[in-house]
Assembly symmetry: C2
Homo-oligomer: 233 residues x 2
Amino acid sequence: MAEDVKDFYSREDKMYVATDCIIFGFDEAKIKLLIFKRRVEPLKGQWSLIGSFVRIDEDVDSAAQRVLMEITGLENVFMEELKTYGSANRDPGYRCVSIGQYALIRINDYDRELVEKHGAHWYDLEDVPDLVLDHGQMVNDALERLKRKARFQPIGFELLPEKFTLPQLQKLYEAIYQTKLDARNFRKKVLSHNVLEKLDEKDKTSSRRGAFLYKFDHKNYRRLLKSGFNFEI
Amino acid sequence: MAEDVKDFYSREDKMYVATDCIIFGFDEAKIKLLIFKRRVEPLKGQWSLIGSFVRIDEDVDSAAQRVLMEITGLENVFMEELKTYGSANRDPGYRCVSIGQYALIRINDYDRELVEKHGAHWYDLEDVPDLVLDHGQMVNDALERLKRKARFQPIGFELLPEKFTLPQLQKLYEAIYQTKLDARNFRKKVLSHNVLEKLDEKDKTSSRRGAFLYKFDHKNYRRLLKSGFNFEI
DNA sequence: GTTAATAAATGTAATTTATACATTAATTTC
DNA sequence: GAAATTAATGTATAAATTACATTTATTAAC
Protein backbone atom coordinates (compact mmCIF):
# COMPACT_ATOMS: atom_id res chain seq x y z
CA MET A 1 0.00 0.00 0.00
CA ALA A 2 1.99 2.82 -1.35
CA GLU A 3 0.02 5.77 -0.17
CA ASP A 4 -1.96 6.87 2.77
CA VAL A 5 -5.49 5.69 2.77
CA LYS A 6 -6.76 9.18 3.48
CA ASP A 7 -6.00 10.07 -0.14
CA PHE A 8 -8.88 7.91 -1.28
CA TYR A 9 -12.49 7.36 -0.52
CA SER A 10 -12.70 10.46 1.56
CA ARG A 11 -15.48 11.66 -0.69
CA GLU A 12 -19.04 10.63 -0.97
CA ASP A 13 -17.93 8.08 -3.57
CA LYS A 14 -17.85 4.56 -2.38
CA MET A 15 -16.11 1.52 -3.67
CA TYR A 16 -18.28 -1.58 -3.82
CA VAL A 17 -17.12 -5.14 -4.06
CA ALA A 18 -19.35 -7.78 -5.57
CA THR A 19 -19.05 -11.36 -6.65
CA ASP A 20 -20.75 -12.97 -9.63
CA CYS A 21 -21.06 -16.71 -10.11
CA ILE A 22 -20.80 -18.42 -13.45
CA ILE A 23 -22.76 -21.56 -12.64
CA PHE A 24 -22.33 -24.46 -15.02
CA GLY A 25 -24.32 -27.65 -15.18
CA PHE A 26 -24.31 -30.59 -17.59
CA ASP A 27 -27.35 -32.36 -18.89
CA GLU A 28 -26.77 -35.50 -20.96
CA ALA A 29 -25.06 -33.79 -23.86
CA LYS A 30 -25.00 -30.08 -23.20
CA ILE A 31 -23.33 -27.63 -20.88
CA LYS A 32 -25.79 -25.26 -19.26
CA LEU A 33 -25.62 -21.97 -17.44
CA LEU A 34 -27.81 -20.79 -14.58
CA ILE A 35 -28.84 -17.12 -14.73
CA PHE A 36 -31.56 -14.94 -13.28
CA LYS A 37 -33.11 -11.53 -13.66
CA ARG A 38 -31.21 -8.72 -12.02
CA ARG A 39 -32.94 -7.32 -9.00
CA VAL A 40 -31.29 -3.93 -8.61
CA GLU A 41 -31.32 -0.79 -10.68
CA PRO A 42 -29.92 0.02 -13.09
CA LEU A 43 -30.85 -2.67 -15.63
CA LYS A 44 -33.26 -4.26 -13.20
CA GLY A 45 -35.10 -7.18 -14.77
CA GLN A 46 -32.44 -8.02 -17.33
CA TRP A 47 -30.66 -11.37 -17.46
CA SER A 48 -27.66 -11.48 -15.23
CA LEU A 49 -25.25 -13.84 -13.57
CA ILE A 50 -26.15 -14.67 -10.03
CA GLY A 51 -24.24 -12.43 -7.69
CA SER A 52 -24.25 -10.17 -4.71
CA PHE A 53 -22.37 -7.41 -3.03
CA VAL A 54 -19.78 -8.64 -0.58
CA ARG A 55 -20.74 -7.70 2.95
CA ILE A 56 -18.40 -5.63 5.03
CA ASP A 57 -17.65 -8.47 7.42
CA GLU A 58 -17.77 -11.30 4.92
CA ASP A 59 -14.98 -13.09 3.05
CA VAL A 60 -15.24 -12.77 -0.71
CA ASP A 61 -15.39 -16.57 -1.01
CA SER A 62 -18.17 -16.76 1.53
CA ALA A 63 -20.20 -14.23 -0.37
CA ALA A 64 -20.09 -16.43 -3.45
CA GLN A 65 -21.05 -19.49 -1.43
CA ARG A 66 -23.86 -17.53 0.16
CA VAL A 67 -25.49 -16.53 -3.13
CA LEU A 68 -25.10 -20.01 -4.52
CA MET A 69 -26.84 -21.35 -1.43
CA GLU A 70 -29.57 -18.72 -1.61
CA ILE A 71 -30.46 -19.51 -5.19
CA THR A 72 -29.78 -23.23 -5.51
CA GLY A 73 -29.83 -24.56 -1.96
CA LEU A 74 -26.43 -26.13 -2.61
CA GLU A 75 -23.31 -25.99 -0.52
CA ASN A 76 -19.96 -27.77 -0.79
CA VAL A 77 -19.95 -27.17 -4.48
CA PHE A 78 -16.87 -26.86 -6.65
CA MET A 79 -16.24 -23.15 -6.99
CA GLU A 80 -13.09 -21.36 -7.98
CA GLU A 81 -12.11 -17.79 -8.58
CA LEU A 82 -12.04 -16.85 -12.24
CA LYS A 83 -10.78 -13.29 -12.24
CA THR A 84 -11.50 -9.79 -11.12
CA TYR A 85 -13.55 -7.45 -13.26
CA GLY A 86 -12.30 -4.07 -12.23
CA SER A 87 -12.82 -1.41 -14.91
CA ALA A 88 -13.76 1.86 -13.33
CA ASN A 89 -16.79 2.18 -15.59
CA ARG A 90 -18.04 -1.38 -15.83
CA ASP A 91 -21.20 -0.66 -13.85
CA PRO A 92 -23.09 2.54 -14.60
CA GLY A 93 -24.68 2.55 -11.15
CA TYR A 94 -21.73 2.24 -8.78
CA ARG A 95 -18.01 1.98 -8.67
CA CYS A 96 -18.04 -1.74 -8.27
CA VAL A 97 -15.28 -4.28 -8.58
CA SER A 98 -16.62 -7.77 -9.15
CA ILE A 99 -14.82 -11.03 -8.52
CA GLY A 100 -16.03 -13.65 -10.96
CA GLN A 101 -16.21 -17.19 -9.61
CA TYR A 102 -17.26 -20.23 -11.55
CA ALA A 103 -19.09 -23.15 -10.06
CA LEU A 104 -19.71 -26.65 -11.37
CA ILE A 105 -22.84 -28.29 -10.08
CA ARG A 106 -24.67 -31.56 -10.50
CA ILE A 107 -27.68 -30.47 -12.41
CA ASN A 108 -30.04 -32.84 -10.65
CA ASP A 109 -29.09 -31.84 -7.16
CA TYR A 110 -30.27 -28.27 -6.92
CA ASP A 111 -33.42 -27.16 -5.13
CA ARG A 112 -35.97 -26.64 -7.89
CA GLU A 113 -38.36 -24.68 -5.71
CA LEU A 114 -35.71 -22.20 -4.63
CA VAL A 115 -34.48 -21.74 -8.17
CA GLU A 116 -37.99 -21.16 -9.42
CA LYS A 117 -38.76 -18.77 -6.60
CA HIS A 118 -35.79 -16.62 -7.60
CA GLY A 119 -36.72 -16.67 -11.26
CA ALA A 120 -33.50 -18.39 -12.20
CA HIS A 121 -33.24 -20.44 -15.39
CA TRP A 122 -30.89 -22.96 -16.96
CA TYR A 123 -29.91 -22.15 -20.53
CA ASP A 124 -27.98 -24.23 -23.01
CA LEU A 125 -24.77 -22.37 -23.60
CA GLU A 126 -25.62 -21.56 -27.19
CA ASP A 127 -28.99 -20.09 -26.20
CA VAL A 128 -27.90 -17.80 -23.38
CA PRO A 129 -29.51 -14.39 -23.86
CA ASP A 130 -27.56 -11.15 -23.63
CA LEU A 131 -26.44 -10.50 -20.08
CA VAL A 132 -25.99 -7.21 -18.24
CA LEU A 133 -22.69 -5.35 -17.92
CA ASP A 134 -19.65 -7.52 -18.60
CA HIS A 135 -21.36 -10.76 -17.60
CA GLY A 136 -21.21 -12.12 -21.14
CA GLN A 137 -17.46 -11.70 -21.03
CA MET A 138 -17.37 -13.47 -17.68
CA VAL A 139 -19.14 -16.47 -19.21
CA ASN A 140 -16.68 -16.60 -22.10
CA ASP A 141 -13.73 -16.37 -19.76
CA ALA A 142 -15.14 -19.07 -17.51
CA LEU A 143 -15.63 -21.40 -20.46
CA GLU A 144 -12.08 -20.89 -21.58
CA ARG A 145 -10.92 -21.67 -18.09
CA LEU A 146 -13.07 -24.76 -17.89
CA LYS A 147 -11.60 -26.06 -21.13
CA ARG A 148 -8.05 -25.47 -20.08
CA LYS A 149 -8.51 -26.71 -16.57
CA ALA A 150 -10.38 -29.87 -17.51
CA ARG A 151 -7.32 -31.11 -19.40
CA PHE A 152 -5.18 -31.37 -16.31
CA GLN A 153 -7.51 -31.74 -13.39
CA PRO A 154 -10.47 -34.00 -13.01
CA ILE A 155 -12.97 -31.23 -12.45
CA GLY A 156 -15.33 -32.66 -15.01
CA PHE A 157 -16.60 -35.08 -12.38
CA GLU A 158 -18.10 -32.18 -10.48
CA LEU A 159 -20.67 -31.89 -13.23
CA LEU A 160 -21.78 -35.52 -13.16
CA PRO A 161 -23.84 -37.44 -10.64
CA GLU A 162 -22.00 -39.44 -7.99
CA LYS A 163 -22.39 -42.53 -10.15
CA PHE A 164 -21.88 -42.14 -13.86
CA THR A 165 -21.08 -44.24 -16.90
CA LEU A 166 -18.07 -43.93 -19.15
CA PRO A 167 -20.21 -42.94 -22.14
CA GLN A 168 -21.62 -40.12 -20.00
CA LEU A 169 -18.16 -39.01 -19.02
CA GLN A 170 -17.06 -39.08 -22.62
CA LYS A 171 -20.03 -36.97 -23.70
CA LEU A 172 -19.14 -34.45 -21.03
CA TYR A 173 -15.59 -34.13 -22.30
CA GLU A 174 -16.86 -33.92 -25.84
CA ALA A 175 -19.10 -31.05 -24.77
CA ILE A 176 -16.28 -29.26 -22.98
CA TYR A 177 -13.75 -29.67 -25.77
CA GLN A 178 -16.30 -29.32 -28.54
CA THR A 179 -15.00 -32.34 -30.35
CA LYS A 180 -15.62 -36.05 -30.87
CA LEU A 181 -13.42 -38.46 -28.96
CA ASP A 182 -12.57 -42.05 -29.78
CA ALA A 183 -14.26 -44.34 -27.26
CA ARG A 184 -11.40 -46.85 -27.05
CA ASN A 185 -8.69 -44.28 -26.53
CA PHE A 186 -10.82 -42.30 -24.13
CA ARG A 187 -11.51 -45.30 -21.93
CA LYS A 188 -7.92 -46.41 -22.00
CA LYS A 189 -6.80 -43.01 -20.84
CA VAL A 190 -9.29 -42.29 -18.08
CA LEU A 191 -8.96 -45.78 -16.69
CA SER A 192 -5.17 -45.63 -16.78
CA HIS A 193 -5.25 -43.00 -14.05
CA ASN A 194 -6.73 -45.42 -11.54
CA VAL A 195 -9.10 -42.91 -10.03
CA LEU A 196 -12.33 -44.50 -11.24
CA GLU A 197 -13.97 -47.23 -9.29
CA LYS A 198 -16.10 -49.60 -11.33
CA LEU A 199 -19.35 -50.55 -9.63
CA ASP A 200 -21.38 -53.70 -9.97
CA GLU A 201 -24.33 -51.73 -11.26
CA LYS A 202 -25.48 -50.75 -14.69
CA ASP A 203 -27.34 -47.75 -15.98
CA LYS A 204 -29.85 -48.83 -18.59
CA THR A 205 -31.52 -45.54 -19.35
CA SER A 206 -29.71 -45.04 -22.60
CA SER A 207 -29.16 -48.49 -23.99
CA ARG A 208 -30.54 -51.99 -23.84
CA ARG A 209 -27.27 -53.49 -22.89
CA GLY A 210 -26.68 -50.96 -20.16
CA ALA A 211 -23.40 -49.34 -19.21
CA PHE A 212 -21.48 -49.94 -16.02
CA LEU A 213 -21.53 -47.22 -13.42
CA TYR A 214 -18.34 -45.76 -11.96
CA LYS A 215 -17.48 -43.59 -9.00
CA PHE A 216 -14.68 -41.10 -8.76
CA ASP A 217 -12.19 -42.26 -6.16
CA HIS A 218 -11.31 -39.05 -4.33
CA LYS A 219 -9.10 -40.75 -1.79
CA ASN A 220 -6.91 -42.36 -4.39
CA TYR A 221 -6.82 -39.17 -6.38
CA ARG A 222 -5.49 -37.19 -3.43
CA ARG A 223 -2.88 -39.84 -2.82
CA LEU A 224 -1.74 -39.65 -6.41
CA LEU A 225 -1.72 -35.86 -6.43
CA LYS A 226 0.73 -35.82 -3.56
CA SER A 227 3.14 -38.01 -5.46
CA GLY A 228 3.30 -35.54 -8.35
CA PHE A 229 0.58 -37.07 -10.44
CA ASN A 230 -0.98 -35.09 -13.25
CA PHE A 231 -4.46 -35.97 -14.41
CA GLU A 232 -4.85 -35.52 -18.12
CA ILE A 233 -7.49 -36.59 -20.60
CA MET B 1 -26.24 -8.54 -7.55
CA ALA B 2 -28.82 -10.30 -5.61
CA GLU B 3 -29.79 -7.69 -3.12
CA ASP B 4 -30.28 -4.00 -2.91
CA VAL B 5 -27.14 -2.05 -2.37
CA LYS B 6 -28.70 -0.10 0.47
CA ASP B 7 -28.32 -3.19 2.63
CA PHE B 8 -24.56 -2.72 2.73
CA TYR B 9 -22.03 -0.05 3.36
CA SER B 10 -24.62 2.27 4.80
CA ARG B 11 -22.52 2.43 7.94
CA GLU B 12 -19.33 4.21 8.64
CA ASP B 13 -17.52 1.04 7.53
CA LYS B 14 -15.87 1.28 4.22
CA MET B 15 -14.69 -1.34 1.81
CA TYR B 16 -11.27 -0.71 0.36
CA VAL B 17 -9.81 -2.25 -2.75
CA ALA B 18 -6.06 -2.53 -3.15
CA THR B 19 -3.68 -4.21 -5.51
CA ASP B 20 -0.35 -5.77 -4.61
CA CYS B 21 2.32 -6.65 -7.13
CA ILE B 22 4.52 -9.69 -6.92
CA ILE B 23 7.45 -8.46 -8.98
CA PHE B 24 9.86 -11.10 -10.20
CA GLY B 25 13.22 -10.62 -11.81
CA PHE B 26 15.96 -13.04 -12.89
CA ASP B 27 19.67 -12.50 -12.43
CA GLU B 28 21.97 -15.08 -14.04
CA ALA B 29 20.90 -17.99 -11.91
CA LYS B 30 18.33 -16.83 -9.41
CA ILE B 31 14.80 -15.59 -9.32
CA LYS B 32 14.41 -12.41 -7.34
CA LEU B 33 11.58 -10.49 -5.78
CA LEU B 34 11.22 -6.73 -5.42
CA ILE B 35 9.75 -5.54 -2.11
CA PHE B 36 9.73 -2.36 -0.03
CA LYS B 37 8.86 -1.07 3.39
CA ARG B 38 5.20 -0.44 3.99
CA ARG B 39 4.33 3.20 4.25
CA VAL B 40 0.99 3.11 6.02
CA GLU B 41 -0.08 2.11 9.48
CA PRO B 42 -0.57 -0.46 10.80
CA LEU B 43 2.72 -2.34 10.32
CA LYS B 44 4.38 0.71 8.83
CA GLY B 45 8.04 0.09 8.09
CA GLN B 46 7.74 -3.68 7.66
CA TRP B 47 8.62 -5.46 4.44
CA SER B 48 5.72 -5.60 2.05
CA LEU B 49 4.84 -6.24 -1.55
CA ILE B 50 4.56 -3.12 -3.60
CA GLY B 51 0.96 -2.07 -3.78
CA SER B 52 -1.60 0.65 -3.50
CA PHE B 53 -5.24 1.31 -2.93
CA VAL B 54 -7.23 1.41 -6.13
CA ARG B 55 -8.54 4.90 -6.77
CA ILE B 56 -12.21 5.44 -7.10
CA ASP B 57 -11.98 6.32 -10.79
CA GLU B 58 -9.20 3.95 -11.70
CA ASP B 59 -9.27 0.49 -13.27
CA VAL B 60 -7.81 -2.21 -11.05
CA ASP B 61 -5.28 -3.03 -13.77
CA SER B 62 -4.27 0.58 -14.09
CA ALA B 63 -3.62 0.81 -10.38
CA ALA B 64 -1.15 -2.05 -10.61
CA GLN B 65 0.56 -0.47 -13.60
CA ARG B 66 0.69 2.83 -11.76
CA VAL B 67 2.51 1.47 -8.72
CA LEU B 68 4.90 -0.49 -10.88
CA MET B 69 5.67 2.70 -12.78
CA GLU B 70 6.04 4.72 -9.59
CA ILE B 71 8.56 2.35 -8.07
CA THR B 72 10.49 0.99 -11.05
CA GLY B 73 9.89 3.51 -13.83
CA LEU B 74 8.78 0.64 -16.05
CA GLU B 75 5.70 0.38 -18.21
CA ASN B 76 4.59 -2.20 -20.76
CA VAL B 77 5.70 -4.95 -18.49
CA PHE B 78 4.24 -8.43 -18.36
CA MET B 79 1.70 -8.37 -15.59
CA GLU B 80 -1.18 -10.73 -14.93
CA GLU B 81 -3.78 -11.13 -12.28
CA LEU B 82 -2.95 -13.82 -9.77
CA LYS B 83 -5.97 -13.91 -7.52
CA THR B 84 -8.05 -11.97 -5.06
CA TYR B 85 -7.22 -11.95 -1.38
CA GLY B 86 -10.54 -11.31 0.23
CA SER B 87 -10.74 -12.56 3.81
CA ALA B 88 -12.70 -10.16 5.94
CA ASN B 89 -9.91 -10.02 8.50
CA ARG B 90 -6.80 -10.08 6.35
CA ASP B 91 -5.84 -6.51 7.19
CA PRO B 92 -6.19 -5.34 10.80
CA GLY B 93 -6.48 -1.71 9.71
CA TYR B 94 -9.23 -1.73 7.14
CA ARG B 95 -11.68 -3.98 5.41
CA CYS B 96 -9.57 -4.32 2.32
CA VAL B 97 -9.80 -6.70 -0.58
CA SER B 98 -6.53 -6.96 -2.46
CA ILE B 99 -6.05 -8.17 -5.99
CA GLY B 100 -2.64 -9.80 -6.35
CA GLN B 101 -0.91 -9.31 -9.68
CA TYR B 102 2.42 -10.75 -10.65
CA ALA B 103 4.86 -9.01 -12.93
CA LEU B 104 7.94 -10.30 -14.74
CA ILE B 105 10.58 -7.71 -15.46
CA ARG B 106 14.01 -7.54 -17.02
CA ILE B 107 16.17 -6.98 -14.05
CA ASN B 108 18.53 -4.63 -15.82
CA ASP B 109 15.87 -2.33 -17.17
CA TYR B 110 14.45 -0.76 -14.05
CA ASP B 111 15.22 2.77 -12.85
CA ARG B 112 17.76 2.31 -10.05
CA GLU B 113 17.33 5.78 -8.71
CA LEU B 114 13.58 5.47 -8.35
CA VAL B 115 13.85 2.08 -6.73
CA GLU B 116 16.41 3.38 -4.27
CA LYS B 117 14.35 6.46 -3.53
CA HIS B 118 11.41 4.29 -2.53
CA GLY B 119 13.56 2.03 -0.38
CA ALA B 120 12.75 -1.00 -2.50
CA HIS B 121 15.09 -4.00 -2.61
CA TRP B 122 15.62 -7.09 -4.68
CA TYR B 123 15.87 -10.28 -2.68
CA ASP B 124 16.80 -13.75 -3.80
CA LEU B 125 13.70 -15.83 -3.34
CA GLU B 126 15.21 -17.93 -0.58
CA ASP B 127 16.24 -14.84 1.38
CA VAL B 128 12.97 -12.91 1.30
CA PRO B 129 12.20 -11.67 4.81
CA ASP B 130 8.79 -12.08 6.41
CA LEU B 131 6.21 -9.91 4.73
CA VAL B 132 3.19 -8.16 6.18
CA LEU B 133 -0.33 -9.57 6.16
CA ASP B 134 -0.84 -12.35 3.62
CA HIS B 135 1.89 -11.14 1.29
CA GLY B 136 4.03 -14.20 1.93
CA GLN B 137 1.15 -16.33 0.73
CA MET B 138 0.84 -14.13 -2.33
CA VAL B 139 4.47 -14.79 -3.20
CA ASN B 140 4.01 -18.54 -2.82
CA ASP B 141 0.91 -18.47 -4.97
CA ALA B 142 2.63 -16.39 -7.62
CA LEU B 143 5.56 -18.80 -7.76
CA GLU B 144 3.22 -21.73 -8.19
CA ARG B 145 1.52 -19.89 -10.99
CA LEU B 146 4.81 -19.01 -12.63
CA LYS B 147 5.86 -22.65 -12.59
CA ARG B 148 2.66 -23.90 -14.04
CA LYS B 149 2.33 -21.16 -16.59
CA ALA B 150 5.91 -21.36 -17.81
CA ARG B 151 5.31 -24.91 -19.01
CA PHE B 152 2.78 -23.90 -21.61
CA GLN B 153 3.41 -20.31 -22.43
CA PRO B 154 6.69 -18.65 -23.23
CA ILE B 155 6.51 -16.13 -20.42
CA GLY B 156 10.02 -16.95 -19.30
CA PHE B 157 11.31 -14.63 -21.98
CA GLU B 158 9.84 -11.69 -20.12
CA LEU B 159 12.54 -12.17 -17.51
CA LEU B 160 15.46 -12.17 -19.92
CA PRO B 161 17.05 -9.35 -21.89
CA GLU B 162 15.97 -8.83 -25.48
CA LYS B 163 18.96 -10.88 -26.61
CA PHE B 164 19.85 -13.96 -24.63
CA THR B 165 21.78 -17.20 -25.00
CA LEU B 166 20.40 -20.72 -24.79
CA PRO B 167 22.45 -21.48 -21.66
CA GLN B 168 20.87 -18.41 -20.05
CA LEU B 169 17.41 -19.56 -21.05
CA GLN B 170 18.13 -22.99 -19.69
CA LYS B 171 19.32 -21.57 -16.36
CA LEU B 172 16.12 -19.59 -16.14
CA TYR B 173 13.97 -22.67 -16.61
CA GLU B 174 16.11 -24.56 -14.15
CA ALA B 175 15.50 -21.79 -11.62
CA ILE B 176 11.76 -21.80 -12.27
CA TYR B 177 11.36 -25.57 -12.13
CA GLN B 178 14.00 -26.05 -9.46
CA THR B 179 15.65 -28.85 -11.35
CA LYS B 180 18.55 -29.57 -13.70
CA LEU B 181 17.73 -29.95 -17.36
CA ASP B 182 19.66 -31.82 -20.03
CA ALA B 183 21.22 -29.32 -22.44
CA ARG B 184 20.70 -31.43 -25.55
CA ASN B 185 17.06 -32.18 -24.87
CA PHE B 186 16.38 -28.63 -23.79
CA ARG B 187 17.82 -27.13 -26.94
CA LYS B 188 16.05 -29.62 -29.14
CA LYS B 189 12.75 -28.74 -27.56
CA VAL B 190 12.93 -24.96 -27.46
CA LEU B 191 14.29 -24.78 -30.99
CA SER B 192 11.63 -27.15 -32.28
CA HIS B 193 9.00 -24.50 -31.64
CA ASN B 194 10.50 -22.15 -34.20
CA VAL B 195 10.01 -19.04 -32.13
CA LEU B 196 13.66 -18.29 -31.48
CA GLU B 197 15.70 -16.32 -33.95
CA LYS B 198 19.41 -17.06 -33.88
CA LEU B 199 21.55 -13.95 -34.24
CA ASP B 200 25.01 -13.61 -35.72
CA GLU B 201 26.34 -12.39 -32.39
CA LYS B 202 27.90 -14.10 -29.44
CA ASP B 203 27.87 -13.36 -25.75
CA LYS B 204 31.30 -14.02 -24.27
CA THR B 205 30.71 -12.92 -20.71
CA SER B 206 30.46 -16.41 -19.37
CA SER B 207 32.74 -18.52 -21.52
CA ARG B 208 35.77 -18.24 -23.74
CA ARG B 209 34.04 -19.84 -26.61
CA GLY B 210 31.01 -17.60 -26.31
CA ALA B 211 27.38 -18.56 -26.85
CA PHE B 212 25.18 -17.43 -29.68
CA LEU B 213 22.52 -14.87 -28.89
CA TYR B 214 18.88 -15.42 -29.75
CA LYS B 215 15.80 -13.23 -29.92
CA PHE B 216 12.24 -14.28 -29.21
CA ASP B 217 10.23 -14.05 -32.40
CA HIS B 218 6.93 -12.55 -31.21
CA LYS B 219 5.45 -12.31 -34.67
CA ASN B 220 5.97 -15.97 -35.42
CA TYR B 221 4.73 -16.90 -31.98
CA ARG B 222 1.45 -15.07 -32.50
CA ARG B 223 1.05 -16.73 -35.88
CA LEU B 224 1.56 -20.15 -34.33
CA LEU B 225 -0.77 -19.41 -31.42
CA LYS B 226 -3.60 -18.71 -33.84
CA SER B 227 -3.15 -22.09 -35.47
CA GLY B 228 -3.65 -23.89 -32.18
CA PHE B 229 -0.02 -24.13 -31.21
CA ASN B 230 0.95 -24.88 -27.62
CA PHE B 231 4.33 -23.81 -26.35
CA GLU B 232 5.80 -26.34 -23.98
CA ILE B 233 9.22 -26.80 -22.49
C1' DG C 1 -38.48 -67.91 -28.50
C1' DT C 2 -36.26 -66.05 -32.41
C1' DT C 3 -34.93 -61.89 -34.59
C1' DA C 4 -33.79 -57.10 -34.91
C1' DA C 5 -32.10 -53.17 -32.97
C1' DT C 6 -29.07 -50.53 -30.09
C1' DA C 7 -25.39 -48.81 -27.60
C1' DA C 8 -21.32 -50.78 -24.74
C1' DA C 9 -17.07 -52.81 -24.59
C1' DT C 10 -12.68 -54.19 -26.23
C1' DG C 11 -7.05 -54.79 -28.70
C1' DT C 12 -3.32 -53.95 -31.77
C1' DA C 13 -0.09 -52.01 -34.88
C1' DA C 14 2.05 -47.70 -36.47
C1' DT C 15 3.57 -43.25 -35.38
C1' DT C 16 5.13 -39.72 -32.60
C1' DT C 17 7.28 -37.95 -28.67
C1' DA C 18 10.32 -38.11 -24.67
C1' DT C 19 14.34 -39.68 -22.46
C1' DA C 20 19.06 -40.99 -21.38
C1' DC C 21 23.56 -40.31 -22.30
C1' DA C 22 29.27 -38.62 -23.92
C1' DT C 23 32.12 -36.30 -27.16
C1' DT C 24 33.92 -32.62 -29.95
C1' DA C 25 34.37 -27.54 -30.93
C1' DA C 26 35.59 -22.73 -30.23
C1' DT C 27 37.96 -19.48 -27.83
C1' DT C 28 41.03 -17.21 -24.39
C1' DT C 29 44.76 -17.04 -21.21
C1' DC C 30 49.03 -18.47 -19.71
C1' DG D 1 50.92 -24.20 -28.30
C1' DA D 2 48.88 -26.18 -24.16
C1' DA D 3 45.42 -25.88 -20.78
C1' DA D 4 41.14 -24.52 -19.36
C1' DT D 5 36.34 -23.63 -19.98
C1' DT D 6 31.77 -23.57 -21.55
C1' DA D 7 28.95 -24.33 -26.00
C1' DA D 8 27.23 -27.29 -29.20
C1' DT D 9 25.68 -31.55 -31.09
C1' DG D 10 23.26 -37.00 -32.35
C1' DT D 11 21.43 -41.49 -31.55
C1' DA D 12 19.25 -45.43 -29.71
C1' DT D 13 15.56 -46.84 -26.45
C1' DA D 14 11.40 -46.35 -24.13
C1' DA D 15 6.94 -44.39 -23.57
C1' DA D 16 2.82 -42.31 -25.12
C1' DT D 17 -0.49 -41.30 -28.62
C1' DT D 18 -3.16 -42.26 -32.46
C1' DA D 19 -5.99 -44.64 -35.84
C1' DC D 20 -9.10 -48.00 -36.60
C1' DA D 21 -13.49 -52.43 -36.70
C1' DT D 22 -15.71 -56.17 -34.38
C1' DT D 23 -18.12 -58.55 -30.83
C1' DT D 24 -21.27 -58.48 -26.75
C1' DA D 25 -25.25 -57.81 -23.82
C1' DT D 26 -29.75 -56.69 -23.55
C1' DT D 27 -34.61 -55.47 -24.71
C1' DA D 28 -38.53 -55.03 -27.67
C1' DA D 29 -41.06 -56.64 -31.45
C1' DC D 30 -42.82 -60.14 -33.87
